[in-house]
């Protein structure tokens, strides 16, 4: 059991991070902290991807004129995670822009107060 955990330490860390982020996304009342939780989930997935591509004793996949034939790590998960990181920034920026608009309209970003204000506005 412990052996397995130590063996798959990156994947276990990624799962824990994902759980933490997901719990924050669902349980926090503050919209900004929800976005933080979302970002933590992102990081967990990228960590899992990057750790999948790693090979013990491998080097970064820059194929130069090396005299010997070294073992390279797998470039595919790195590329996928690289794409994902940049997209996650775009999504974060969009979410934060929405939060700014919500604050400008209602003056708060706490979910409960927002619900009450929105209901009052409906009547």
């Amino acid at each position: 059991m412990l052996e397995d955990i130590l063996q798959n330490r990156y994947a276990v860390t990624a799962v824990i991070l994902f759980g933490v982020g997901f719990a924050n996304l669902m349980l926090q009342q503050n919209l900004l902290r929800k976005v933080l939780g979302f970002n933590i989930m992102d990081a967990a997935i990228f960590l899992l991807l990057a750790s999948l591509g790693y090979i013990d004793g491998g080097v970064a996949p820059i194929v130069g004129d090396r005299g010997f034939d070294p073992l390279y790590i797998n470039p595919i998960p790195s590329g996928l995670a690289l794409t994902g990181i940049v997209v996650s920034v775009a999504i974060t920026a969009f979410a934060l822009a929405l939060i700014q608009r919500i604050y400008r309209r209602y003056g708060t970003i706490e979910l409960r107060e927002l619900l009450e204000l929105a209901k009052k506005e409906d009547d």
Binding site: A11, A14, G19, D56, V63, Y72, T83, V87, V89, I91
Partner: protein, 292 residues
């Protein structure tokens, strides 16, 4: 006679309809007959109380349910992780012939020694094109949400951000830092075939240099470097250039023609870098002062 009766009948129906009575049985349609009798409307207070009760119940149950869902999900994922192949072994199923080919032939097929960049810009360039579109649209969406109108004076709810004076420390620190940032960004963009980094990292650093300029020396100096019109032009140009170049890259045969494509690879990388840099800087400008 006949006409008269029908007329009277119609009039009776019309008056009864206007008065809001239910129609007599013999003239109603079958569907209408099945309409349930109207219940008394619940009063406003009752409705509100019920609504509040429902909301309260939801708020009571929600945290517990969310916690349970989280725990179950983490448990399932942990079980899955325990059964995964070991970390860092060369014969894992993920290290299959695809990555082997990228590593072995990536250099002559795309002209890039860095397999990650070769994959992003070369083999999976269509993916990157989609991503550039995502970034383009993200800036457009943020612009819709946050851009202030130029002609309208500041309202009460959209207070104009006070133009704060730049910090002395920030200014003095930024002065030597910015040239190096721009230099390393250019190095990453132009030299992405043989060193780590590439369109994404170089573009981000370029954007970060612009952000630092804007933060330390005020919006005017950044606008002198990149005005609004230029910004839009560069952003669109980057995306269009990437699309066109990648189309050309596909059509003249990304597979097979060896070293003819090296220059094109560099241009593709530059186009991605421009899009990313503009996106990053655009986010900062829109967030901090509401306009580019």
């Amino acid at each position: 006679m006949h006409e008269d009766r029908r007329d009277k009948n119609l009039r009776r129906r019309l008056t009864s309809w206007v008065d809001g009575e239910r129609e007599p049985k013999d003239q109603t349609l079958f569907v209408m007959e099945q309409r349930p009798p109207r219940r008394a409307r619940q009063t406003e207070e009752e409705f509100e109380r019920k609504d509040r009760d429902r909301l309260q119940k939801f708020f009571n149950w929600y945290p517990a349910a969310a916690a349970v869902i989280c725990l179950v999900m983490v448990a399932v994922l942990l079980i899955a992780v325990m059964n995964m192949p070991g970390f860092g072994q060369a014969d894992n199923p993920i290290n299959n012939e695809v990555s082997d080919r990228y590593l072995k032939h990536g250099r002559e097929e795309t002209g890039s020694e860095n397999a990650v960049t070769a994959m992003i810009v070369g083999y999976r360039g269509f993916d990157t094109f989609g991503e550039s579109c995502v970034m383009f649209l993200a800036v457009a969406a943020v612009m819709i949400l946050l851009a202030r109108e130029e002609h309208r004076p500041a309202d009460a709810d959209t207070e104009e951000p006070e133009e704060e004076r730049a910090d002395l420390i920030l200014e003095q620190a930024a002065r030597p830092l910015i040239p190096f940032m721009l230099l390393i960004a250019a190095y990453m963009l132009l030299h992405s075939e043989t060193t780590p980094g590439g369109g994404f990292s170089g573009g981000t650093l370029l954007g970060a240099g612009l952000i630092l300029t804007s933060a330390a020396f005020g919006a005017e100096s950044a606008q002198r470097l990149l005005s609004r019109r230029q910004y839009s032009a560069v952003r669109t140009f980057g995306l269009l250039a990437y699309g066109l170049l990648y189309g050309a890259y596909i059509f003249i045969g990304a597979n097979g023609l060896q070293n003819h494509l090296t220059r094109l690879f560099l241009l593709l990388d530059l186009a991605v870098g421009l899009v990313v840099a503009c996106t990053i800087y655009g986010f900062y400008a829109l967030f901090s002062r509401g306009r580019i």
